[in-house]
Symmetry: C3
Subunit: 352 residues, 3 copies
């Protein structure tokens, strides 16, 4: 694949500075770039590398005066770069069109146009797969499950019966959507299972990482809002509702019936106790343990989670704690001594 | 599916209050219920919703005087409700009877009566599958593994060679039972693997969530006791012994050779250091880090885990720590000043 | 399988003490051993069991005088024992030689000698599988992926396109190597995905547990160094570089672009913030939350992670914090009283 720099300028709506006839054959980071590569500078601190990079041209958000390389000037250099990366690297996972002869498709399944089912895919009865959706090897679509258009499921994914994905949903390998929620009633003879008869509803443009688990609701639906991105090994329990455009980093655990507003961010390995409300735009630090509902816009961290600035003060202070204990002990001794001296003075005074 | 309320009353052994001829066509929560639904009140605080619910009838543990709806009075409303849910929603995962033509069954495999093997299931030589067990698509049963009667394995489950499941064991999608324990000996050239030649033994009525990992023992067996319930993404290391009727919430990690008594509960994301003993009925808080053995019946939380009430006092106190440091500094100054004044007084006294 | 003790002595280069004609038919721990078993003593505290064990013979690092059993004396008893275990228990997972008729092999795939592909394995175009590698049922090798010689992949493993494994790499069930890194750019309309066009490169003699996720790099490679061992349910993000002979215990999360030196050890459930450097030989405690780079050889624990000894002092001190608050309050009252008495004394003095 090869483009003239001027062609890329046009595609990005960028201002071209320098020679537009340079041939661009790839993209890379500014240090790794080789001849023919287009690179980018998003952070002004990297501007110093412009003189040493082997890249053929640079995307930046402002003109680097004295830069010997041709440049494309755009409002957001990183975003423009990402577009060029996508241009040079279309999804590289062999989305074969058509139904592999080993794919098993049940009865009354509605397959859209240009659907791809890889080897050993199983689609059960009454499922719906929207136009242009691709399902890779070994994945399983349960009865009455519904996928929108242009979904992409990697290998060994399970979408259990009755769950629904919107349009353009991506699910990575080994992820399980719609397994039973974890609900039991204690009886004298042991635990009795609470049937989990709801489903999972995933909105448009959601992306879900590898080996994630999202449980179906007891009743109703576990919901993941439009545009939300979920990293690997995340656990989302039954009856959780996640808003739109949330970011959930790897190994997060969200307990049952939690409600999350739009634009919330969960740091890696954080955990949320059941039945809480996490407000819009809340940011939760990595490994935080959230034990109370959080108002809109708040930033929290630590265990138990508290406002981030307070948490930082507490953790900084805790490092002084061993010395503080010594200080208090010394103070107690000093005060005891002073008390004795005062008693003595007082006695002397009374003798006089 | 439709029942008269009087039929359900009989089935539950409930006291019917009001019109038994009401037709019940479904079940739901008190807020979500529609006409024809049976709902329940387990918590007296929800009694206020009785006047506004659209449900056709209500299960409760005491008569709500003035309730316009017919009621079923039972000792445990939630438990009765769960039974009715199970009645209306039998397991909905297409347990096809019979062996799918693509299932591969090895030599000398003992398949019980009414066993179901889904598409692309692999059962290796000398395995035993008990009567009525169901194994869904893509699951793998290794050599000499043994499943009891009425087990239910969802998709892409692996039961490795020689492991055994009791009767009525449920295993959700992507779970791995019997992978190698994590054991190495350091040598100058690097780590040498310690062969893991034991197995995993799972008791009757155990349920195991999705993408769980339970490692086989180095020697002997890793054991999960009868009736224990394990949530998604849990890690159980080699040579662990879990008692009966334990509850292990999502993302818990239990290190090698830990022994857990009956009826213990593990909060989500908690972790247990190797070789400890967790007593009967112990309750471990979410995210707790357990570094010492815990006596029977104790409730612990925090990192490092300590008795829950003490942990709560410490966390509450820690929020006062930044102020405490200021207080101690102020006290030190005050005491220094007092010391100076006493010295002065003392001197004045001696001058007199 | 049966050996004379003298044969095993020769194999280990051990000094034989006692009767070499004893027949050894198995191996086990000193308490579990039965007649015919060879056992070992690595810890001198276990020497007392020598008189009661039912084992036929004992491996030890020094002669136990008065031991009635024949012994094999070696420099490292545990290591010698592990070798004997491996002798009696060769890998027991039916490594069928040959390509199962249901395995699907793409075009231009280079299959080495004695490669085994289990049922329902899929190998995409242009992949390379080295001599003697074994891939069990349901696993997937993406386009242009490369496996070295003598690799062993258990069931339902995914190696995505373009990723490479060295020689003698073991990957357990359900693990995903090469899923997309978690990278997005925020735009007004929502998050835009940053294409992840790099790969994962795994060195020789690496072992990776079950349901692990290792993401491909944005550019370049996510790297796992030679001899490193990774436990179950670990998350390794894009562009991470792990050194050689590291130990990564279950449920660890390593964020994007972290660099880890050789011989580092990560305790279970610990987490590392992105872009940090973890030095050679660093030891990270279980559940630690690492927020800063760590110099070579340091031992850290806690949240936020700090040198282990300091962390232990802080946690020990924190248990005294509720009492400390009371002590400080009592001191304040005492000091106020002393101040009043001094004021009184001072006043009395001035009156005189």
């Amino acid at each position: 694949m090869e483009f003239l720099l001027s062609e890329l300028a046009e595609r990005l709506g960028a201002t071209l500075v320098g020679d537009g006839s340079v041939r661009i054959t790839g993209v890379s980071g500014i240090k790794e770039a080789g001849p023919g590569d287009l690179t980018f500078i998003a952070d002004p601190r990297y501007m110093k590398h412009v003189s040493t990079t082997r890249a053929a041209a640079v995307i930046a958000s402002e003109n680097a005066h004295g830069c010997a390389k041709p440049m494309l000037i755009v409002p957001n250099a990183y975003l423009a770069f990402v577009e060029i990366v996508a241009l040079f690297h279309p999804r590289d996972t062999a989305p074969q069109t058509g139904i592999h002869p080993t794919a098993i498709v049940g009865q009354q399944v509605a397959l859209g146009k240009d659907v791809s089912l890889g080897p050993y895919v199983v689609v059960e009865d009454d499922a719906v797969i929207g136009d242009g959706s691709v399902i890779l090897a070994g994945s399983f679509i349960g009865r009455k499950a519904r996928l929108g258009t242009s979904c992409f499921l990697y290998t060994n994914v399970t979408i259990r019966e009755g769950c629904t994905l919107g349009d353009r949903v991506t699910v990575h390998c080994g992820t399980v959507i719609g397994s039973d929620g974890f609900g039991y009633v204690r009886q004298p003879a042991g635990y009795k299972k609470v049937p989990q008869v709801g489903n999972v509803v995933v909105g448009d443009d959601v992306e879900i990482g590898s080996n994630v688990t999202i449980d179906r609701a007891t009743f109703g639906a576990t919901k993941v809002g439009r545009g939300t991105k979920i990293d690997n090994l995340v656990q989302i329990a039954h009856n959780v509702t996640i808003g739109e455009n949330c970011i959930i980093v790897a190994q997060v655990g969200i307990s049952g019936s939690v409600e999350v507003g739009d634009d919330a961010t969960f740091g890696g390995q954080s955990g949320i106790v059941g039945h809480l409300r996490i407000g819009r735009g809340v940011q939760i630090g990595a490994q935080a343990g959230v034990t109370k509902s959080i108002p809109d816009g708040e930033v929290v961290s630590g265990y138990p989670a508290q406002p981030h600035i307070a948490a930082q003060r507490v953790y900084a202070a805790s490092r002084k704690l061993p010395d503080l204990i010594k200080q208090v002990k010394a103070l107690e001794e000093e005060v005891a001594m002073l008390r004795a001296r005062i008693a003595k003075l007082s006695e002397e005074g009374s003798h006089e």
